[in-house]
């Protein structure tokens, strides 16, 4: 299999409805099994890919950015103490706890929950496997496609962000 170039702008798999449907089904099953509140799939660069569960009370975009930063920072700390088998972080709280674990080289799963962490850890392996398999299928399907942005008028530099007057 051809390895994707990590720098190509469209390297993370371009996700179509079928991918998101499979990911959402896996996340939904996980919520049913664990009674967790919210589950997110995020990219290690901090992007939110998809989520299931409660979202009204949480700023999921920011949670995604911070969770990826926290995970990567902890992974680096683990490396500094020569621990190669770092795979997850768990923040235990009074109202909500957060569990964040590795899915593949590019993607993380974040779980926000009130239930016992043991249940989350027990079911997370199956869920991450389903997600990783689907992302791999997406990578194989369309490794280099981009988005047709030809409608954009690149001659107008003010078109994108405007300053309030």
């Amino acid at each position: 299999m051809a390895r994707h170039n990590p720098h190509d702008m469209a390297t993370l798999p371009q996700l179509i409805e079928e991918d998101i449907k499979v990911l959402n089904e896996a996340l939904h099953d996980f919520l049913v099994q664990t009674d967790a509140t919210t589950v997110l799939v995020i990219d290690k660069g901090g992007f939110l890919i998809t989520h299931q569960g409660e979202s009204k009370d949480f700023d999921l975009t920011t949670i995604g950015a911070l969770a990826s930063g926290a995970f990567m920072a902890n992974q680096t700390i683990a490396g500094l103490v020569n621990e190669p088998s770092f795979n997850s972080i768990h923040q235990q709280g009074e109202n909500f706890s957060i569990f964040c674990c590795n899915v593949d080289e590019e993607v993380l799963l974040v779980v926000i929950f009130r239930c016992h962490v043991g249940v989350v850890k027990y079911f997370v392996a199956t869920t991450t496997k389903k997600i990783a398999d689907q992302l791999e299928a997406a990578r194989k399907r369309a490794p280099g496609q981009g988005v047709d942005l030809s409608m954009l008028n690149m001659a107008d530099p003010q078109e994108i962000f405007r300053k309030k007057i």
Binding site: P6, H7, D8, M9, A10, T11, L12, Q14, L15, I16, E17, E18, D19, I20, K21, D43, K44, G45, G46, F47, L48, I49, T50, D59, T61, T62, A65, L66, G69, M72, A73, T76, E106, A142, G144, Q145, G146, V147, D148, L149, S150, M151, L152, M154, P157, Q158, E159, I160, F161, R162, K163, K164
Partner: protein, 208 residues
């Protein structure tokens, strides 16, 4: 690496503001947050992970939804890195997955060694991440032009913009919001231009 989600019709890109300590990276984000014209709900909260003295500890983060192109919502995520030398590991983490870079240089004469060192540090960190500055859109911003000891732009160009391909550079006084939007719009244009070129070379995707 940007995320293209055909199912939710979203394009997400990450722009990182890099540069020496106290150069004005966070100020750029604060000004964008305070002054950007967006539809209601399209501007996220500015999150700062800072020390008690307001120095960036991990990163600042500002998500903005800019526009819709052919049905795609374009979401920009703006990050800053901590400028202080000791936080190099953190800078590497924040650079991961970036699509474009704004290098914010401090125009004061005595800050030139720090500017050059920070630029070299950026190159080293990109190399460590197996990235190449030649392939990442980036722009330069010469900030703090209002200070009396600001070096001439030509001198800063000589120091920071003398690579094989010269990139767009902007003078700025970020705390007055001068040059901030010009810089952001240029990096955004370069990014989208790269996308257009890629999509033309690969062919447009089939709709989901």
């Amino acid at each position: 690496m940007a995320i293209i989600n055909q199912a939710t019709k979203e394009l997400q890109v990450k722009i990182v503001y890099y540069g020496p300590a106290l150069g004005g990276k966070t100020t750029n984000l604060v000004q964008v947050h305070d002054h950007v014209q967006t539809a209601q709900g399209n501007k996220g909260k500015l999150v700062s992970l800072a020390t008690s003295s307001d120095r960036t500890l991990f990163f600042d983060f500002l998500p903005i939804e800019a526009m819709t192109i052919k049905g795609f919502k374009t979401k920009f995520q703006l990050y800053t890195v901590p400028g202080q030398v000791i936080y190099n590991t953190t800078r590497q983490l924040v650079l991961r997955g970036c699509d474009g870079i704004v290098f914010v240089a401090d125009s004061q004469y005595e800050k030139m060694p720090e500017n050059v060192e920070s630029f070299q540090n950026m190159l080293d960190n990109l190399t460590a991440l197996k990235l190449n500055l030649g392939e990442i859109p980036y722009v330069l911003q010469y900030n703090k032009r209002d200070l009396p000891n600001a070096a001439p732009v030509e001198y800063m160009e000589f120091l920071l913009n003398n690579r094989e391909v010269q990139v767009p550079s902007f003078t700025a006084t970020a705390h007055k919001c001068e040059g901030v939007f010009e810089t952001l719009n240029m990096i955004t244009r370069l990014l989208l231009h790269k996308f257009i070129n890629q999509s033309q070379s690969h062919g447009a995707p089939q709709p989901a």
